[in-house]
């Protein structure tokens, strides 16, 4: 009794665990149950039960309700699908003038909007693409194909790669200085020499459209949310779900709405990139000190001036992080949207991975990563740039860079012209080095992979087998062995103990959604993979972070490494693991671990750093040694921040698990990937995406509630 009074929380947790295990043992596995009986696949089977919703029959395998809840939400994907099709094909027809047939035609409004949006995006992408690579489409957009036939000279010639490379270097020099200029120049030369120019420029044009548009919309919506509580309240839940929704899942509805191609990819990239931009804009604007706003008002700012001259510049730091996020998401999506027909490096990367040509994949992946890092650094430098007013400069000084670019332009064209004579019989290498005609190291890498495989095959295989048989399989079996009711009790109970009734209700709703969907088993498999990844990532991340924290330079170095790793598109992580482990669960898990270790490490270092220096000194003066200081002072105080790191780790891990479906796993991701190639997959894809998002949100909710409580307890902010 004394003990119970002393540690009430501990006993509550114990009680919860006892109930959980009691339920697990009390409820037997039903005899008819086998892992994943294809509940989502609608084949006739005498064992199936069914119910009817909106005239549609939803079939499922009847289990004991304590074991698995019936898929009462089975109608949801069908309904979403039907609604989408209805919207696209039947809802609110309007009269549209058709240029070709010269008559009015009736067309549903959503379809018309989608067509116009599509045309607009295509135009933008083609415009930039043709400035970089040359082509006809832009001119056609202003004239017609007939006109082009009559005027064969009318074609955008495209810029020689020398001009683009030198231009990028010059711009980098102006923004940041010699270092970045050198990096920009080398990156461009590398891309060109290795024959990746065309796909790189295709990807670049895609990003140069998607990133600015996402930035503008994100900023605009962020401002709207800042100015109106109502907008914020409406946006917030959508933002939460969008931030945790795997990027695959968004692709599927986009297919239905916008079809296949670069334009759909841009739109869907915007959908993914805008939420973090909104959140960071809002965060930044909120953090502007009230006195600065008042100072702006007293200076006589109009609302517009207040926003753009005071609030946004003052919130620049957070908005900048938003820009960074946008760029990273764009690159990530540049690869993923290759699934819906975006051209460029991403497409090549997927193709190479499909053919198991690791060397080619590595080259494409390296190009994407290099461009991503370059744009990331350039955008940072741009935002940190100061304008100086003391401009009593001469014409030459003011327009130095422009003049330089002019010179480069002329030299580039002259070079390209000389090139036409130099390389009469082959390609003009001074204009553009065609794909696969540059230097390629693919063979070298492939041989390397083969060599590694031949040499270490036994060890890798042994490790692989051991991991799968001794760790992964049993873990998966344990997860699947949990009766649904026990899982729900555990999660909701944890919610109640950590965050009170409100938290418990939210968590309960999220869990029930997944339990009532037809994919509970798959969700468990997803959860198991993510859990494994998160645990290993956290162990590695905490260890590395703590070790690096001991020295200022190593900490800074590690944060820099994290920065660079975070810039890599998520798909790139699959390349080296496939090199080593081939197509197995192990590959996916290792990719998950590498990817998810980034936030774990970063937040550990940041958390430890946030411990006030005064406490540090106080501890030292109390005579603690380094280890005691770490365990007694630094860890407890840094823990809330580290928990936020775990939160990020979970989101990262889930993303990677879903992407891992590309290699072939048996979780929710597999079905999302399947839905991509299914005409009626939109509803399924979206519902699956929401399921994954909800898994992340359950943990997010629990961790946030815990961190808040803990911070209050410790009296941090």
């Amino acid at each position: 009794m004394e003990l119970l009074k002393k540690y009430p929380k501990t006993f509550q947790w114990l009680f919860l665990l006892v109930v959980f295990f009691a339920l697990c043992f009390a409820i037997d596995v039903p005899e008819t149950y086998k892992f994943i009986r294809g509940q989502a696949e609608f084949v006739k089977d005498p064992n199936q039960s069914s119910y009817v919703f909106l005239g549609k029959e939803v079939r499922y395998y009847a289990f004991d309700v304590f074991w698995r809840l019936p898929p009462l939400l089975g109608w949801l994907p069908i309904w979403i699908n039907d609604s989408l099709f209805f919207l696209m094909n039947d809802w609110m027809p309007i009269e549209v003038w058709n240029e070709d047939t010269q008559e009015f035609k009736s067309r549903p409004i959503v379809l018309q909007i989608s067509r116009n949006l599509t045309a607009f995006m295509t135009f933008l992408i083609e415009l930039i693409r043709e400035i970089l690579l040359g082509g006809l489409e832009t001119i056609v957009a202003f004239t017609s194909w007939d006109w082009i036939d009559k005027n064969p000279w009318a074609e955008l010639p495209g810029l020689p790669w020398t001009i683009v490379a030198a231009g990028a270097a010059l711009l980098s020099y102006k923004l940041s200085g010699k270092g970045l200029a050198l990096f920009a120049g080398l990156t461009m030369v590398y891309i060109s020499v290795f024959g990746q120019w065309k796909p790189s420029m295709q990807t670049l044009s895609f990003i140069l459209v998607a990133a600015p548009l996402s930035f503008i919309f994100g900023l605009g919506l962020g401002i709207a949310a800042f100015r109106s509580k109502r907008v914020e309240k409406a946006l917030y839940p959508i933002l939460l779900v969008m931030q945790t929704m795997p990027q695959y899942a968004v692709l599927v509805p986009a297919l239905v709405l916008f079809g296949v191609g670069d334009h759909a990819a841009v739109i869907i990239t915007m959908v993914v990139a805008i939420p973090p931009m909104i959140l960071l804009t809002l965060l930044g604007l909120r953090a502007v000190p009230p006195e600065v706003i008042e100072a702006g008002r007293m200076s006589g700012c109009t609302n517009f001036q207040l926003m753009f001259k005071v609030l946004i510049p003052t919130a620049r730091r957070d908005i900048l992080i938003g820009v960074n996020q946008v760029i990273m998401v764009c690159f990530s999506m540049a690869v993923i949207s290759a699934f819906i027909g975006a051209k460029g490096l991403g497409f090549n990367l997927l193709l190479a991975l499909n053919q198991l040509n690791i060397g080619l994949a590595l080259e494409a992946g390296l190009c994407i990563s290099l461009i991503a890092i370059l744009l990331d650094k350039m955008s940072l430098a741009w935002a940190n740039k100061q304008t100086d007013y003391f401009g009593n400069l001469t014409f030459y000084q003011r327009n130095k860079n422009l003049l330089f670019f002019g010179a480069i332009f002329v030299i580039g064209i002259v070079l390209a012209y000389i090139g036409t004579y130099l390389f009469k019989d082959t390609f003009n290498y001074l204009f553009e080095i065609p794909h696969n005609k540059g230097i390629s190291t693919a063979d070298f890498w492939n041989k390397g992979v083969d060599w590694i495989f031949d040499t270490f095959f036994i060890y890798i295989k042994a490790f692989n087998t051991w991991l799968i048989q001794e760790v992964l399989q049993p873990m998966r079996a344990l997860y699947l062995r949990m009766p649904a009711i026990a899982t729900i009790v555990l999660v909701v109970g944890a919610g109640y103990l950590i965050g009170g009734l409100r938290s418990a209700l939210v968590v309960c709703a999220l869990t029930l959604f997944i339990a009532f969907s037809p994919w509970w088993d798959r969700a468990l498999v997803t959860a198991y993979m993510a859990t494994f990844g998160v645990i290993v990532s956290c162990i590695i991340g905490f260890t590395v972070g703590t070790l690096c924290f001991q020295n200022k330079h190593s900490a800074n170095f590690m944060l820099g490494v994290c920065d660079i790793f975070q810039t890599f598109p998520s798909f790139v992580y699959l390349i080296p693991v496939m090199m080593l482990f081939g197509i197995t669960d192990t590959s996916v898990l290792i990719a998950v671990i590498v990817y998810a270790t980034i936030p774990a490490t970063r937040y550990t270092i940041e958390g430890l750093r946030s411990v006030p220096a005064g406490l540090h000194d106080a501890a030292t003066m109390s005579g603690v040694n380094k280890f005691q200081r770490l365990t007694k002072i630094e860890f407890p105080l840094a823990f809330p921040h580290m928990m936020l790191g775990i939160n990020q780790t979970i989101v990262f891990a889930l993303f990677m698990v879903i992407i891992g479906a590309f290699i072939g796993t048996e979780d929710l991701g597999q079905y999302i990937l399947k839905a991509l190639s299914d005409k009626k997959g939109a509803g399924i894809g979206l519902t699956l995406g929401i399921c994954v998002a909800f898994i992340a949100l359950i943990f997010d909710n629990l961790i946030r509630a815990y961190v808040q409580k803990r911070k209050k307890h410790l009296g941090i902010d």
């Binding site: 000190p289 006195e291 600065v292 008042e294 100072a295 008002r297 007293m298 200076s299 006589g300 700012c301 109009t302 001036q305 001259k309 005071v310 510049p313 003052t314 620049r316 100061q386 007013y389 003391f390």
Partner: protein, 342 residues
């Protein structure tokens, strides 16, 4: 006398959902406690006063006394819940947004406790900011801002960023910024509270020098009674949203209106606050040869007067004798019966 520059009539500021209605129901009889029970917090409670041209009114109060809220009502950074505020005869609360912006662009300047500088702009850009907002050309605004940089003694640092400056220097920028548009009315919200004591004294002297030169109409907020005494033409002491007393520093020290005000005055060294004029007697008998100006602070002339045997003549600016003061009076004022004054 000409029209007051700032005039407040029964100004109330009450925070809370149905503050407006509760204020109407109370018929101007606002009791903070009953309001609090209904979820409203009283910021300013029935404030009425005037500030005339060139005068410096210091509003003194501890934190939570409503002094900053009062200032924000008068600058209309928040809207007063009730009452009337006139700026140079214009009804402030009736102004539309455009007129309000015009007013702020041309007539008002404000200095903030935490400096509130724009972190992305240099010193000179910060100072030029209100000018640029008005639509003045960049070159003109910068050259005007450079004059301001010189005025507050920051020459040579005009291209620094706020983060590169000390607190005192930052506040000099804040002051220069608030003066850039040459406002008639100058609001200062605890401008020196965030500074070190030594810097604070230096800034106060600097501020007096500026005011001597510029002669603005000033509302100055502080929680420091000594600062109020040093700077003010008149002091308003606030507590719980109510102005407890509004008078000249001397009168406040000599005749505190409430127990609350008296507590502040107890520790004040009077010889540093009071002028000869405040303690002289009207009688002109038994005068000695020494003459002192009525505007001298007692401390500065006390030694001279104490060496005299006769009374000392007090003269005004035109050297006319207007009264007298004797050593006993000085001794009484400095050491005598502080606790049970008057």
């Amino acid at each position: 006398m000409s029209e007051p520059v700032i005039k407040c009539e029964n100004v109330y500021k009450i925070f809370g959902a149905n503050a407006q209605k509760m204020l109407q129901d109370s018929n101007g009889n606002v009791d903070a406690k009953t309001f609090q029970e209904n979820g409203c917090i009283v910021g300013v409670n029935n404030a009425s006063f005037e500030v005339s041209k060139g005068e410096m009114l210091v509003v003194m109060g501890l934190s939570g006394s409503g002094k900053s809220t009062l200032l924000r009502c008068i600058s209309r950074l928040t809207d007063a819940t009730g009452g009337k505020i006139f700026i140079e005869g214009q009804d402030l609360l009736q102004l539309n947004n455009k007129d309000l912006i015009d007013l702020r662009r041309n007539k008002m300047g404000m200095v903030f406790q935490s400096f509130a500088l724009l972190p992305h702009k240099t010193v000179v850009e910060n100072i030029a900011f209100p000018l640029q907002i008005k639509g003045i050309k960049t070159e003109d605004s910068i050259s005007k801002a450079m004059d301001m940089v010189k005025l507050v003694g920051l020459d040579g640092r005009e291209n620094y960023f706020p983060r590169e400056l000390s607190g005192g220097q930052q506040q000099r920028v804040g002051i220069a910024r608030s003066l850039a548009v040459e406002p008639d009315i100058w609001f200062l919200d605890e401008p020196f509270s965030a500074l070190d004591p030594l810097i604070r004294k230096e800034m106060q002297d600097e501020f007096l020098r500026l005011q001597d030169k510029l002669q603005k109409t000033i509302m100055f907020i502080t929680h420091d009674f000594d600062e109020a005494l040093k700077l003010a033409d008149r002091i308003a002491i606030m507590k719980d949203g109510i102005i407890e007393q509004l008078d000249t520093p001397a009168n406040i020290v000599l005749n505190p209106a409430t127990e609350y005000v008296r507590k502040f005055t107890e520790e004040v060294p009077r010889e540093k606050v009071l002028l000869i004029e405040d303690v002289m007697e009207i009688s002109k008998d038994n005068l000695g040869d020494l003459k002192v100006s009525k505007d001298e602070i007692i401390e500065n002339v006390a030694e001279k007067i104490l060496t005299q045997e006769k009374s000392v003549a007090v003269v005004d600016n035109n050297n006319n004798i207007i009264g007298s003061i004797n050593p006993t009076k000085i001794i009484n004022t400095v050491f005598g019966g502080r606790k049970h004054n008057n």
